[in-house]
Symmetry: C2
Subunit: 245 residues, 2 copies
């Protein structure tokens, strides 16, 4: 029996998030069904990040234990025929039998994408947050700087977080224009509280609309007051794009 | 009663194409349902391009006749609440009562997008053609040049085309790398035969794989022989991105 670490990509649109929930379609359960079919035995898997309903991932890290003659690097190809078309396994390798991805992933990057135009683009509806008001990207960039470094993000998480501490470190944050109508926020940190990236995105959207003064950002973060931050932006715009061990 | 010309965008994933078909969900029918709800009277609409099942559009041109006090430019906003979330009306204006978009659209641009990587990206599965074999973009660019200008595209349309003539003019064609794993083909022409862009895309994919020699392209086009061209690439990668009157 060996433990394997896989990188998994999925389109969150038709899932009730990563984590198994009785009666709902989740990525974890679909992946377990596929792994079980591949290995002919009930197989469990555990992910590094519990992405929410509608949130996407290009780089979820998941482990599973298996006894198989298939070489680890061939598993991504071997499992394709058992996977639904909204999940891909991108790579796979053997890790230590005690390896726990929740603790081993030291750094994650999320991308939050906004579609900023007068009218919605139907082909982007499941992958972006639609904002009709014209956003000032420079104000968003200025506001974003305040998140850099170690902060208590108590005001940037949903009320009933189970985290022991709300202190997190943001290593990098950027706001850039991907094309005519899309703005992406990239946030890299050592960990994220429940809904944290979506609240950061919602706050930067408010800054871009002129509803929050970028200069007030350090104060808003320090206050720890959820009501001073912006709305929680929708799940569709969020994608886990990188995870580093 | 006035005739209106609208620009319509849609995600083709959940439609059986543009054109009405009894018992199937089509863009034309959904748009007619929405227009009828907005104007409180059965309203018909007619498009410039009959896109197939799964094909997307950011710039379909459609006309409808209506008697309304809503100014034309306010119709896109007024109709939002009646539209499904996979259709948007981007603009609208009054045109001559004889205006027929099929004849008035003089030039169209299609984009065909390929996802070229070892594994599928689930978030791009409905918007790209997945190709696992590494494509040589320079060979694709070289092969593309042969399509420029006026040609008889008999070998680049599906067998039972109803077109009177298979001669079409390609004004512009380009192949470019959009990002690490995506290659887009843009084709602009005065008109396209049934499946023509998808067969051009399939042929350029073959050129990129080394299955078709770019130097043989003029000969292949001239032959008028469908079997010498590449496969018909899937509908997901195709998007009508521009239409000029």
């Amino acid at each position: 029996m060996k433990r394997y670490l896989a990188t998994v990509a999925y389109d969150g649109t038709n899932f009730f998030g990563w984590q198994k929930q009785n009666g709902f379609r989740t990525v974890q359960e679909e992946l377990e069904v596929s792994l079980s079919a591949l290995f002919h035995v009930k197989t469990f898997c555990y992910g590094a990040s519990r992405t929410d309903r509608g949130v996407h991932a290009l780089c979820q890290k998941a482990v599973f234990d298996a006894e198989t003659t298939i070489p680890a690097e061939k598993i991504p190809l071997a499992i394709i025929k058992y996977l639904p078309d909204d999940i891909s396994v991108l790579d796979c390798r053997v890790v230590d039998s005690e390896f726990n991805p929740r603790f081993e992933v030291k750094q994650k990057t999320y991308r939050y994408t906004i579609y900023n135009s007068e009218f919605r683009n139907p082909t982007r509806r499941n992958y972006t947050e639609f904002v009709r008001d014209k956003l000032d990207i420079e104000k968003m960039q200025e506001a974003a700087k305040a998140f850099l470094g170690e902060h208590d993000f108590k005001g940037f998480c949903s009320a009933h977080t189970s985290a022991k501490t709300t202190v997190r470190t943001i290593y990098d944050i950027s706001v850039s224009k991907d094309n005519e109508n899309e703005i992406s926020i990239y946030v890299t940190g050592n960990g994220f509280l429940y809904n944290m990236v979506r609240i950061i995105a919602g706050t930067l959207i408010f800054a871009g609309m002129g509803k929050i003064d970028p200069e007030k950002m350090p104060e808003i973060i320090k206050s720890g007051d959820r009501t001073k931050a912006g709305k929680t932006a929708g799940p569709e715009g969020l994608c886990l794009v990188d995870a580093q061990l």
